[in-house]
Amino acid sequence: MAFWIASSPHNHNQTKTPNLMRLVIYATLPGILAQWYFFGWGNLIHIALAMATALVCEFTVLSLRKKPISHELFDGSALLTALLLGICLPALAPWWISVIGTMFAIVIVKQLYGGLGHNPFNPAMAGYVMLLVSFPLQMTLWQPPLSLVAVDLNFTNTLTTILTGFTLEGYSVEQIRTTIDGITMATPLDTLKTNTGLGLTVLESIESPVFGDNFALGWEWINAGFLLGGIFLIFKKAIAWQTPVSFLISLFICSFIGYSISPDSSASTMFHWFSGATMLGAFFILTDPVTGATSTKGRIVVGLLAGLLVYLIRTAGGYPDGIAFAILLCNMSAPLIDQYTRPRTYGHMKGDK
């Protein structure tokens, strides 16, 4: 009788790419639900459009590259990219925004660099930045929360707005964004930036209805949803806890310093945490295993850097939110950070080569 002899490792990790991707997709559900509740059907329609485009693009490129289509098309990575891009888009942006953005993300940012695992930049964020740089007008058509919108934005109205630019009754996007008072609504971050530029204090700014009772009407619950999903992912060990924690701490410290120096012109720490795309970026995009740092120390450094960059872009940059730009800059620096934060091999002294 011969024993089957195998070398270590004996305990195999059964996690496969599709399982991980599916888990991450499930974890975004609380945030998407909050987004649907506060902002209507827009983002869901964009997610559907982006997913369809992603599948078509992925299929085309894979067949051109003569890759195993059934294996790579359904590994969920393209769907996740499309999902994240769809979440980030303004709800009432025209339909071609999500189509062009997804095409760019899948074909150029992901597949031209060699497909999943070879892309230096996060495809969803690169696609978002491309859209933001190319179509600044459409990409800032942020819709105020449903409770502040005078027009009834049901599913058909949202769909026709995305496809044609007008609701069934003929209201344009600009009209939807304007309240009864005749003021165009923007996101809380945008409002704060504009008002600070006009010389108003933060206390005066947050009287605007988009801020709601707490930090940012609607946005705080979306961020809470993504926080919940992120904690679920950490609990499932799908993502490393170091990146989001160091990112949030870094953002907290930066905004705390800013707030204690000049409380009149800087937003509170919790406002920075619970508005914009902070939690989505922290748990779902910065933790991308392909484009982020790989060592434990490296992840902490990347998180700290991202927090600092987000704060700097939000307060001093030209755009209201800086998550996407900060993450792309971190993607660029991740290989270098990895180079300098190599873990010590077991049994070797520190500084030994």
Partner: protein, 266 residues
């Protein structure tokens, strides 16, 4: 005997004369064929194999910065080509008197002189395009494609060939500029030859073609990052064509080898 010898001698002399003449004629023919081959090689190198834009990737800064419209691309392409031809001719003409040690500064001075001429000419006759090219017109001085050709070819070869080399390299560069300009202008604003009147005079306004109606400009195509991406696609296309030709040539070669063997046996 003497009589016999003399005509023999003269015959021999005739023969040798004939042989000399034939040799000279053959040499001449050979030289002409060589020159033709040289010109052909120069054309292939400049336009395709060693294209300064696609293969050498020289002069990327103006290539990427000013190709947002076809008009700008043509303007810069023509200016670069002029400077390249003139500098090649001059460098080649003075190549025997330039000390090796200080040749680079001399080349740069020659190029700078011609760039200044072109700049002043454009300022005088095509002021609009002069303004829209801006700093990239004087920056032709630093275009590596020009000093590269001066150093690699013109400083070692006769004037005529150098002029032809300058023309072909300049043409290759200009063609890439214009292709990039076409792609970026169509994607960016949906037009072709927008602002051609700045370069060609007032009649050229009729050249403007509205390819497609865009509700909003696709800014990425107009901004430099779009130029990088379009450039990447152009290089990929060139490599794909090269690979295709190579794959075809291998098949041809196999056939040729078989024929040679048949001849050898017979």
């Amino acid at each position: 005997m003497d009589n016999d010898i003399a005509p023999q001698n003269s015959n021999e002399a005739d023969v040798t004369d004939n042989i000399d003449e034939q040799e000279a004629a053959a040499e001449k023919l050979q030289a002409v064929a060589d020159l033709k081959a040289e010109y052909k090689e120069l054309a292939i190198q400049g336009l395709w194999k060693n294209n300064p834009g696609l293969v050498q990737l020289l002069g990327l800064c103006p290539l990427l910065a000013v190709t947002s419209t076809v008009t700008n691309a043509i303007g810069l392409g023509v200016a670069t080509m002029l400077v390249l031809i003139c500098s090649n001719v001059t460098v080649s003409a003075i190549r025997h008197w330039v000390p090796k040690e200080i040749r680079i500064p001399i080349f740069v001075l020659i190029i700078a002189a011609f760039v200044t001429c072109v700049q002043l000419l454009m300022n005088a006759y095509t002021f609009g395009i002069y303004q829209s090219l801006g700093i990239f017109l004087p920056l032709i001085v630093t275009n590596c494609a020009i000093i590269g050709r001066a150093e690699a070819y013109a400083s070692k070869n006769p004037v005529k060939q150098s002029a032809f080399d300058g023309l072909m390299m300049g043409l290759g560069f200009a063609i890439i500029l214009i292709i990039l300009g076409i792609v970026r202008e169509i994607l960016g604003q949906g037009t072709l030859f927008d602002g051609a009147e700045l370069l060609l005079g007032d009649w050229a306004t009729v050249l403007r073609i509205e390819v497609m109606q865009l509700d909003s400009q696709f800014l990425l195509a107009i901004l430099p990052p779009g130029a990088f991406i379009a450039m990447g696609f152009l290089i990929a296309l060139k490599n794909a064509i090269d690979n295709h030709i190579k794959a075809k040539k291998v098949v041809d070669k196999d056939l040729v080898i078989e024929r040679v063997r048949v001849n050898f046996d017979s």
